[in-house]
């Protein structure tokens, strides 16, 4: 399962970079979305996969019996998703405005400040 996920993550990174290299700014945003998803999935995988064992302590116990999924990695992903959501919302608004001002979505036309 881990190696399957690893391949999937690799594909996501590759697709993200490919999309970011296109000329259209809309595809650029899609690339960014893929990239943040890939990173989140990577944290999930790197922290170790455990199936069907939520990190819950049994009634009357002090510690978790046996192995359990790592809750910290999931907390990280949750935070990263929220942050990614905020930042991407901003990116979408920015690109919407930029397309309005520049009248195109072609990156090649946006070289005025280079």
């Amino acid at each position: 399962m881990t190696s399957l996920l690893a391949i999937l993550i690799g594909c996501l990174y590759a697709a993200a970079i490919y999309m970011m290299l296109r000329r259209s700014v809309v595809k650029l945003v899609i690339g960014l979305i893929l990239l943040s998803n890939a990173a989140n999935l990577l944290i999930f995988t790197a922290a170790g996969l455990e199936r069907g064992v939520p990190p819950l302590i049994e009634e009357g116990q002090q510690v978790i019996a046996g192995t359990a999924a790592d809750p910290l990695a999931q907390a990280l992903i949750l935070t990263a998703i929220v942050i990614g959501f905020g930042v991407l919302a901003f990116a979408v608004v920015l690109i919407h405005r930029a397309c309005e001002v520049v009248q195109t979505d072609d990156m090649n036309e946006m070289k005025g400040t280079d």
Binding site: A38, L42, I43, A46, A80, V87, L94, V102, D114
Partner: protein, 500 residues
């Protein structure tokens, strides 16, 4: 009062002031007052923090009473405290400068709340002792900087912002990737804990891979070679006050992160990692200064110089000797003040002449000799002319380079200093010395610029003071560098002396 509370103040104060001024969105006067008072209070807190850090050593605050390494810690060692103080100075100067220069329209779109949020993000990044928390603060400051960057909505701003946003998000994604892999390796997020556990990891090759990911992520943020393109494309587009605080602070957060990570965590394979850093440092210096030579707009010249200066700071880290780190810390102190000052002077030039283009400027020395002096001080300091702050910063670094026989790095550092002088003289000749070009450009109605002169003058005075009192500043940098070179101090402060 509990001492450790001081560590939280530089983060919580701007957050609170920013939040209150967001609530007061429609009341511009309250916002302006909060901007000035808020940044002033951060400045006081930062001074107190640095003072206590010198007295007491590394200060640690366990947020929410959750013990390290499980909870989030805020750690103030000398480097962090120095950076917080520099951020506070820049923030205060910018907030005061904004009182005069920021248009009503931008105030309505939350200029001051964003400024506070930016400072909160910057200070949070300096003080956190948790690698994921560092990522969160990076994002906080990025979001604030995105919004500040596009205020005004002009075409150039949009074009610049797209590059800025894309490359910074790419760097954030790489940073997150690196955190994920690191967490997979050691199972901890507390930087002190990571540093300890990394020595026990068997697969040291993987550690180096993660180190390289961090290097790429942070060097994009620091605008180091080869991924610096976003900086000259965007930094000259927003209003001058925003440019100034960006130029002073943002890339330095990336540099700080490099310093933190490559002294505390990845210090095992110095030969490999710091050698790459050395190459990057040298190329960063060179490309930055050459880029500046080709520009003829004041803010663009200054933007390219940020890049070349980042190279010097990285040089200090790359050489990784006590003296080199002292030089690096000294350089950061000198650079933040000088760079913010130069941008603020550029803003004054614009107010007096209505242009940033060297071709359309001229005659400023004759008309405004005071401004000419205010420009010359930071400009010469940037180029490293004695006895100003830049001279000592460069001198320490070059001496450190000579000590380890890194001749070519030393040679290039000297050459870059010379080329910096060339750029500064170019601005001087074109904007101040030559006659007003024909046809004379329309000069905007003179406003009252007294406050702006005072601000730039105070920063210039600080530059001179760093030069004159180089000895105590050197000692401060020495103590900070000593802490960096002995990561066990940091680890003990966070985890307790009997860890391991």
């Amino acid at each position: 009062m509990d001492l450790t509370l001081l560590v939280a103040l530089p983060v919580i104060l701007p957050l609170l002031f920013g939040a209150v001024s967001l609530v007061m969105l429609n009341n511009h006067n309250v916002q302006r007052w909060l901007g000035a008072i808020g940044t002033a209070s951060i400045l006081i807190a930062a001074c107190a923090l640095l003072w206590q850090c010198r007295e007491q050593g590394i200060l640690v605050l366990e947020v929410g009473s959750w013990p390290a390494p499980f909870g989030i810690v805020l750690v103030a060692d000398l480097l962090a405290a120095i950076m917080v103080l520099l951020a506070a100075i820049t923030g205060f100067a910018t907030a005061l400068y904004s009182l005069k220069t920021v248009r009503k329209r931008f105030e309505r779109f939350g200029y001051y709340p964003l400024l506070h949020l930016l400072l909160a993000g910057v200070n949070g990044a300096f003080l956190t002792g948790d690698i994921f928390n560092l990522y969160v603060w990076f994002e906080v400051l990025l979001v604030a900087s995105f919004a500040l960057l596009i205020q005004g909505g002009e075409r150039a701003q949009m074009e610049g912002a797209i590059k800025y946003v894309t490359l910074n998000l790419l760097s954030s994604a790489l940073f997150l990737t690196a955190i994920g892999l690191l967490y997979g390796l050691v199972g901890s997020l507390n930087m002190a804990d990571i540093a300890q556990r990394l020595t026990q990891v068997e697969d040291q090759g993987m550690v180096t891979v993660v180190a390289m990911l961090f290097l790429i992520a942070f060097s994009i943020k620091a605008a180091a070679f080869p991924l610096f393109f976003w900086l000259p494309a965007s930094y000259h587009t927003p209003q001058v006050a925003v440019s100034a605080i960006f130029a002073g602070l943002l890339t330095k957060v990336g540099v700080y992160a490099l310093y933190r990570v490559f002294t505390l965590i990845f210090n095992a394979e110095v030969e490999f990692t710091h050698n790459i850093l050395l190459w990057m440092a040298v190329l960063t210096m060179l490309t930055g200064v050459l880029g500046a030579a080709a520009q003829f707009e004041v803010r663009r010249i200054l933007s390219f110089h940020i890049i070349s200066q980042i190279g010097y700071m990285m040089l200090g880290l790359a050489l990784y000797t006590p003296l080199a780190l002292i030089g690096g810390v000294f350089y950061i102190m000198h650079h933040i003040i000088v760079k913010a000052n130069l941008f603020l002077v550029a803003g004054l030039i614009y107010r007096l002449r209505g242009s940033f283009e060297l071709k359309r400027l001229g005659g400023l020395y004759k008309d405004h000799p005071g401004l000419a002096v205010l420009f010359l001080i930071p400009a010469l300091s940037l180029a490293g002319v004695p006895p100003l702050s830049g001279f000592f910063a460069k001198f320490i670094l070059i001496k450190a380079g000579v000590e380890v026989h890194a001749w070519w790095a030393v040679g290039i550092a000297l050459l870059v200093g010379l080329l910096t002088l060339y750029s500064m003289i170019k601005i001087w000749n074109e904007a101040f010395w030559k006659a007003v070009p024909e046809p004379a450009p329309a000069i905007p109605a003179p406003g009252r610029n007294g406050l702006l002169y005072w601000i730039t003058g105070s920063l210039a005075a600080m530059t001179i003071a760093i030069g004159i009192f180089a000895e105590p500043i050197y000692q401060l940098a020495q103590q900070a560098a000593a802490q960096l070179l002995n990561p066990q101090l940091y680890i003990n402060a966070v985890l307790g002396a009997d860890s391991l």
